[in-house]
């Protein structure tokens, strides 16, 4: 049962962060509206002032009825899970797009299935051919052709990554527009509820506000604070003020230096960093966390191959008897190298196959160029190994995102089911539901144990096996 225990330990660790966020929000509700949630203080009490988005707010609640607490706790759990699930789904989609660029699938991250991997292998293979036939113009031409294909493969991958980045940037701007529309709606509903039903459940108006918050949760991570007059104030997950009473503070989003910048609140505070949750959180996570290392690895590989080949070609002699010229055009640093790498020559005789002093028909330098395939020229390893490692990272990131998205979606389904079945049914029915939930939990626990046992047995045999 070792793997069961470890899996549950992992689960508990993973849930700790979510639970912490949940506790914060639940506490917000409890502290703002009904400390009696824990039954320590059954009636409303006067609230102290509190900071919201860096601004001190006053909440003078002295009385009221906690009629909506049940719904709000569960609603907030659903909304929080919606935010997490939406972020995970968005990130999964972005990483799947990256996988598509490199021709990766869930079951294969082999370099040979990728256009870039094939181009790298073909280039070094052409250099080996040149070493074997240094005086043939066809093999020289083949080297230039393969080098050109390699540069094009880098350019294409870079362009596609840039396209994904631009698309995500535009998505972020669109999402912010949708967020802003809902913020105005929620502030307006706060105002109506404060006028019509400051101390009791506001019925349809509260339903409308809840629906708007639920929609908002698809787009962005939120913290909710229940305030006086049946109000709900909203901040982003990193404390950017969105709604305070009847006032909404639309987000401002722009592209600055190629990156999305989002500001919030009356002072336009930059909240771009650390903004999580919803499709906006997923988009920013893809832009800020997932894509940069992929772009960087691609640039490093292009730069490493180009500089190593240029340096080695400069040590040889071309077919005209001159010192070898650079075969690739490349910048002085790796930044942007995959997008700018290009073939520098068109004359195949400029490939420096010969070593110094052996005449233009020699092959010493061609052999040295071919040996770059097995030299540690990229990040302390070979070009092929570096590419393989980079592709494996992409594949793993996509697989992790997929697993996480499935998990969050599954948890969301459960919470939604519980919320829907809790409201509006009799205590007897609720008791039946609870029993059914517990029975399902026990059945699933038992299944976990059975599968864990089968898994361990299968591992012991190491082959397709039936377990007796």
């Amino acid at each position: 049962m070792g793997s069961l225990i470890s899996a549950i330990n992992i689960a508990q660790e993973a849930l700790a962060a979510d639970q912490s966020a949940l506790n914060i929000t639940a506490n917000n509700v409890a502290n703002q509206n009904t400390p009696g949630y824990t039954r320590e203080t059954p009636n409303f009490s006067t609230q102290d002032t509190y900071l919201l988005g860096g601004y001190e707010q006053s909440d003078g609640v002295t009385s009221g009825t906690p009629t909506s607490i049940r719904d709000r706790v569960l609603e907030q759990r659903v909304e929080q899970q919606t935010q997490v699930s939406s972020q995970a789904s968005t990130l999964e989609t972005a990483l799947n797009s990256v996988q598509d660029i490199f021709g990766l699938t869930a079951s294969s991250t082999s370099t040979t299935v990728t256009a870039l991997g094939t181009a790298v292998d073909s280039f070094f293979s052409s250099l080996t051919d040149l070493a074997n036939n240094p005086s043939q113009s066809a093999t020289r031409q083949e080297v230039l052709s393969a080098a050109g294909n390699l540069a094009t493969a880098f350019n294409t991958s870079s362009t596609q990554l840039t396209s994904i980045t631009n698309g995500l940037n535009n998505d972020a701007l669109t999402i912010v527009g949708q967020v802003n529309s809902l913020l105005g709606n929620i502030a307006s509903l706060n105002e109506k509820i404060a006028v019509q039903s400051p101390n009791t459940d506001a019925g349809v108006l509260e339903d409308q506000r809840q629906e708007a918050i639920a929609q908002l949760s698809q787009y962005i991570g939120l913290d909710q604070i229940t305030t006086s007059n049946n109000g709900i104030d909203l901040t982003t997950s990193n404390d950017g003020l969105l709604v305070a009473g009847n006032l909404s503070y639309p987000l401002n989003a722009s592209i600055v230096g190629g990156a999305v910048q989002i500001t919030a609140g009356p002072n336009n505070t930059d909240i771009s960093t650390g903004l999580t949750g919803g499709s906006l959180g997923g988009t920013l996570a893809a832009l800020d966390t997932s894509l940069p290392p992929i772009v960087s690895n691609l640039d490093t590989l292009a730069y490493s191959i180009a500089t190593a080949v240029n340096a080695q070609n400069a040590l040889g002699v071309d077919a005209y008897g001159n010192t070898g010229a650079a075969l690739f055009t490349i910048g002085t640093t790796s930044t942007g190298a995959a997008g700018t790498i290009a073939l520098a020559v068109t004359d195949p005789n400029l490939v420096a196959a010969a070593g110094g002093g052996e005449g233009s028909s020699g092959n010493t330098n061609a052999t040295a160029l071919a040996n770059l395939a097995t030299a540690n020229i990229a990040g302390g390893t070979t070009a092929d190994a570096y590419l393989a490692s980079s592709l494996a990272q992409i594949g793993q990131a996509a697989a992790d995102a997929s697993t996480n998205s499935t998990l969050q979606s599954t948890t969301l389904s459960q919470l939604t089911t519980q919320r829907d079945t809790l409201s509006g049914v009799s205590l007897d029915e609720e008791a039946a539901n609870l029993t059914e939930y517990q029975r399902s939990y026990q059945a699933a626990s038992q299944l976990f144990s059975i599968i864990d046992t089968l898994f361990a047995s299968a591992l012991d045999f190491g082959v397709v096996t039936s377990v007796s």
Partner: protein, 86 residues
């Protein structure tokens, strides 16, 4: 013994069934997995990572379910004792 079962699929279906509190589906899965344990159903070979990833999902859903049931129990206790007005 033509019938086969993939552990990763069984785990995924278990998590999905638990999410929907689908007792019938869980019963069906239990019967199928018990049959596999008794050697009547063959276990299909697959990458270890696929199984572990689904184990993690099910484990997390189990933990979340436990917490949710606790919350529901507390809420119902409060309602039963009329500790909120409705």
């Amino acid at each position: 013994m033509a019938e086969k079962v993939k552990l990763s699929e069984a785990l995924e279906r278990t998590a999905a069934a638990l999410a929907m509190f689908d007792g019938d589906a869980l019963e069906e899965l239990t019967a199928r997995l018990n049959a596999a344990a008794e050697g009547q159903v063959e276990i299909e070979r697959e990458p270890v990572e696929a199984i572990k990833a689904r184990q993690r999902i099910l484990a997390e859903v189990l933990t979340a379910t436990e917490q949710s049931i606790d919350l529901l129990r507390r809420l119902r206790e409060r309602k039963a004792k009329n500790e909120w007005a409705h």
